[in-house]
Chain length 180, copies 2
């Protein structure tokens, strides 16, 4: 299926609302536990999403539009969020994510991108040439990757509690699929 900017924006708009509905005021059993050493909790994922809003998606889109392939993107620091947003409560993080996402989508809409803009090319430090269309589609699928991860991390907390049903529950068979 081809990338459709309006469909991408529709999804990007909903992620903060969906995460808010799922996570706000949920017992910490679900939100601060992870899957073991060097893994992320739902809390960590929200911090990572905030970090992406600040340093990844729209900053890279601006680089493509201003410099094309001549300026390589800054590498995104997948652990960058660990140094920031210390001491914030989950409710505050959810608010911050919603605020930044809303600002970024306002900026994106204001660009009034045309089909030829979406075909503009930038340069990723590892992947090489990428298009603005691919960057924006990735922003949406990145949300879904982390919704996928959050559901898995939460399910992990009840791995023993479900007893013999564990074999029927697909999410408990998922070992995660991201590179470290």
């Amino acid at each position: 299926m081809e990338h459709n900017l309006q469909h991408t924006i529709s999804l990007l708009t909903r992620t903060p609302v969906a995460l808010n509905a799922l996570l706000r005021d949920l017992p910490e059993t679900w939100t601060v536990r992870n899957e073991g050493e060097s893994t992320w909790s739902a809390f960590d994922v929200v911090r990572h999403l905030i970090h992406g809003e600040r340093t990844d998606w729209m900053p890279r889109a601006r680089i493509v539009l201003q410099f094309g392939e001549t300026q390589t993107f800054e590498p995104f620091d997948r652990w960058g969020h660990m140094r920031e947003y210390q001491g914030m409560l989950l409710g505050q993080l959810l608010d911050e994510f919603a605020r930044l996402r809303s600002e970024n989508l306002s900026e994106l809409r204001a660009l009034k991108l045309r089909r030829e803009d979406l075909e503009r090319r930038g340069r990723h430090p590892a992947l090489g040439v990428v298009t603005l269309s691919e960057l924006l589609a990735t922003w949406a699928v990145h949300d879904l990757t982390h919704l996928h991860q959050i559901s898995r991390v939460m399910a992990h907390q009840y791995r023993e509690a479900v007893g013999p049903w564990s074999g029927y529950l697909g999410v408990l068979q998922c070992a995660g699929h991201s590179s470290p």
Copy 2:
């Protein structure tokens, strides 16, 4: 981690709200497409969740409390939803899921289950002896399994659109983990 009934109810309460926030009025690109033949769209998953509210979780809990191990649960029909809820719009299905879940949680709370109630045993047609505690924990993880599935099915629609980023997006590496 041990099963905690209040934590289970907290999660079960949020699933309809989170799915509503994610899916309502989203373009059909995201909600009615699946991953190929004999797979489910987000739309199908919501129908399946409704079917579970009607025929699986609380009906089985009642059987455990009334008959213990002497009455085997009816097998749950994983494709049962395909015969029902025909012609309903996604918004109507989300409303119906929220309504049934709310009713079921009211009934669950009204039971005022004590620790010894949660240890009561029932008989699953394939798994054999299970406890009420395991049944209720499974209800919560079943929600998470389908949130996991929905995020994967939606991401699949942009598999090509993300271009070279596909290797970085864990959700696109997930082949699903449930038995057919």
